[in-house]
């Protein structure tokens, strides 16, 4: 079995971690194990190691050889392999394809559940409201209820204005 980092030497160090129902296995050669700090139990985290490994492999695959680079901050796959951290929030878009699988193994789900910034929540609520109003407007025009249509049009105008200037609170 070859070492999964250098892919050159024989793997002699085998690590297994079970988290939830997922089992992760890593096989390393003596040298890579040393450089990754596997022998030092205080400075070693299998999650971090897997993170760097899995991500860089997936990024390599998805990039098809050409090195992916974040247009916002200039962060590359090599940087990610080294640091195990991303460069900026835009990196999530840049490396989204590769990160998808990684996030799946790491977390409970792939979609955010929970708190949302108030301004975004307002926006979302306003967008929903706008859709509803437009539907009603269409119906009012169809029924030739022009009084209702006029007031709906005003409300749509106001909602649009509020959407344009969020976070007024």
């Amino acid at each position: 079995m070859l070492c999964c980092i250098c892919k050159e030497k024989d793997a002699t160090v085998h690590l297994t971690q079970i988290a939830g129902e997922k089992m992760q296995k890593v096989d390393l050669c003596e040298e890579c194990a040393k450089t990754k700090g596997v022998n030092d139990p205080t400075g070693f985290s299998l999650a971090d190691l897997l993170l760097g490994l899995g991500a860089s492999q997936e990024i390599e695959q998805s990039a098809g050889g050409a090195e992916l680079k974040c247009p916002r901050c200039g962060f590359t796959q090599a940087d990610f392999k080294k640091a195990g951290r991303l460069g900026c929030s835009e990196c999530y878009r840049t490396f989204s394809e590769a990160l998808g699988g990684l996030l799946k193994t790491m977390h409970k789900g792939t979609h955010h559940v929970g708190k949302i910034p108030e301004s975004l929540r307002q926006n979302r609520d306003l967008t929903d409201r706008l859709k509803l109003l437009q539907k009603r407007l269409g119906k009012a025009i169809e029924e030739e209820d022009f009084e209702a249509a006029a007031s709906l049009r005003d409300e749509i105008k106001q909602t649009n204005a509020r959407l344009g200037s969020p976070a007024t609170s």
């Binding site: 955010h112 929970g114 708190k115 949302i116 108030e118």
Partner: protein, 368 residues
């Protein structure tokens, strides 16, 4: 302002009370947030980090909860002061290693602490004595809601709050409790417990957090996953697991006293013997022995002794705290001598443990 005169005196810290504080030393909820369109601290150049710091710091200081807070840049704090903050569990070891471009804002009561430009632009935490996860979450949730009006967070509807490390993405929350589990350690039940907690997707760490040893039988239990589960669901899940760990610890203590009282008396008696008589003692040994003494106080082997006496020593005997009490720079050997002197002195009014099982709790009476 000088950090040392700002911090709550250890004697007062040791007397803070909370639900289940016999076993749960403290509860903490931390949120990770980042500013949109700025590189994360680990990748940003110094001028960009300083810009972010200057943007976040005034917003944090303006929070109603942060009146009269202690706010400093990390480069203006001495290595010793940073170490003291680590020993008080107010900042991470990673943050202590930061300097220019990173900062700290801490409130008077030491219940809210903001680390600026740690791994993320902002890491805010609410701390409470005992088991109070919900209260800690609600406190930090409120602070976060006020801050989002002034700070433009990096947020994505799919992935939630975006963080430097993909392991924190989503809610960016870490809910944790610091537990004192000498009973489970003595009963040799701690490893299976840790394993089953791990299986539930929760992490168990040592005294100073990530990658540290469980000195003094202190363990930190926290959630690991942050994406796909709401904050309140995570808090609830942790509460359930903690309730079980507390029960196991109480059971382990009761069973040990019933089945192996001599073993318990022996450990506690020896711990007292060494602490009360040593002339040189390391920080590690002190913590492990103080943990046993604390167990002794908890199960009634030191009648009339307040647990705060032990808890205060737990804080004061740590290396940086010990150094702070002396003006000259101490070597590790000198610290060991001074530590032993301090502990001997403080234990002078404490009589040696009794060797009799006291039935202080309700269930023991019910059996009669």
């Amino acid at each position: 302002m000088d950090l040392h005169s700002f911090l709550v005196p250890p004697a007062d810290t040791a007397r803070r009370k909370g639900p289940h504080d016999r076993i749960v030393m403290s509860s903490r909820v931390r949120l990770a947030r980042n500013i949109k369109d700025s590189a994360f601290p680990g990748w940003a150049k110094k001028p960009e980090r300083i810009k972010v710091l200057e943007q976040i710091r005034p917003a944090v200081e303006a929070l109603p909860d942060m009146k009269d807070s202690f706010a400093q840049t990390m480069d203006s704090l001495s290595t010793l002061d940073k170490q003291i903050l680590v020993e008080r569990h107010l900042i991470s070891r990673e943050h202590a290693a930061k300097s220019a471009g990173s900062g700290l804002v801490l409130n008077r009561e030491e219940t809210l602490c903001f680390m600026i430009n740690e791994e993320d632009h902002l890491r805010m935490q609410a701390l409470r004595p005992g088991l109070q996860l919900r209260q800690a979450w609600s406190t930090i949730d409120q602070a976060d809601s006020l801050l989002e009006k002034r700070l433009d967070y990096a947020f994505n509807p799919e992935l939630g709050y975006l963080t430097a490390c993909p392991t924190n993405i989503g809610t960016g929350i870490r809910v944790s409790a610091m537990l004192h589990l000498p009973g489970l350690v003595l009963a040799e039940q701690i490893n299976p417990i840790i394993q089953s907690v791990n299986k539930l997707g929760l992490a168990v760490r040592g005294l100073y957090g990530e990658g540290t040893e469980a000195l003094g039988n202190v363990f930190q239990v926290s959630n690991q996953m942050t994406l796909g589960e709401s904050e309140s669901a995570i808090v609830e899940r942790l509460e359930k697991v903690l309730a079980q760990i507390i029960e196991h610890e109480e059971n382990a203590r009761a069973t040990l006293l019933e089945k192996k009282p001599k073993m318990v008396f022996n450990h506690i008696g020896r711990a007292y013997g060494i602490l009360a008589n040593a002339h040189s003692i390391s920080s590690k040994e002190t913590m492990n022995l103080l943990s046993l003494m604390k167990l002794g106080v908890d199960v009634g082997l030191f009648p009339g002794v307040d647990r705060a006496v032990v808890d205060e020593m737990f804080i004061l005997t740590q290396p940086a705290h010990l150094q702070k009490q002396h003006s000259e720079k101490l070597s590790a050997e000198e610290r060991d001598l001074l530590r032993a002197d301090m502990v001997r002195e403080r234990l002078r009014p404490v009589s040696r443990p009794i060797a009799k099982v006291q039935p202080p709790s309700g269930p023991a009476l019910e059996k009669q």
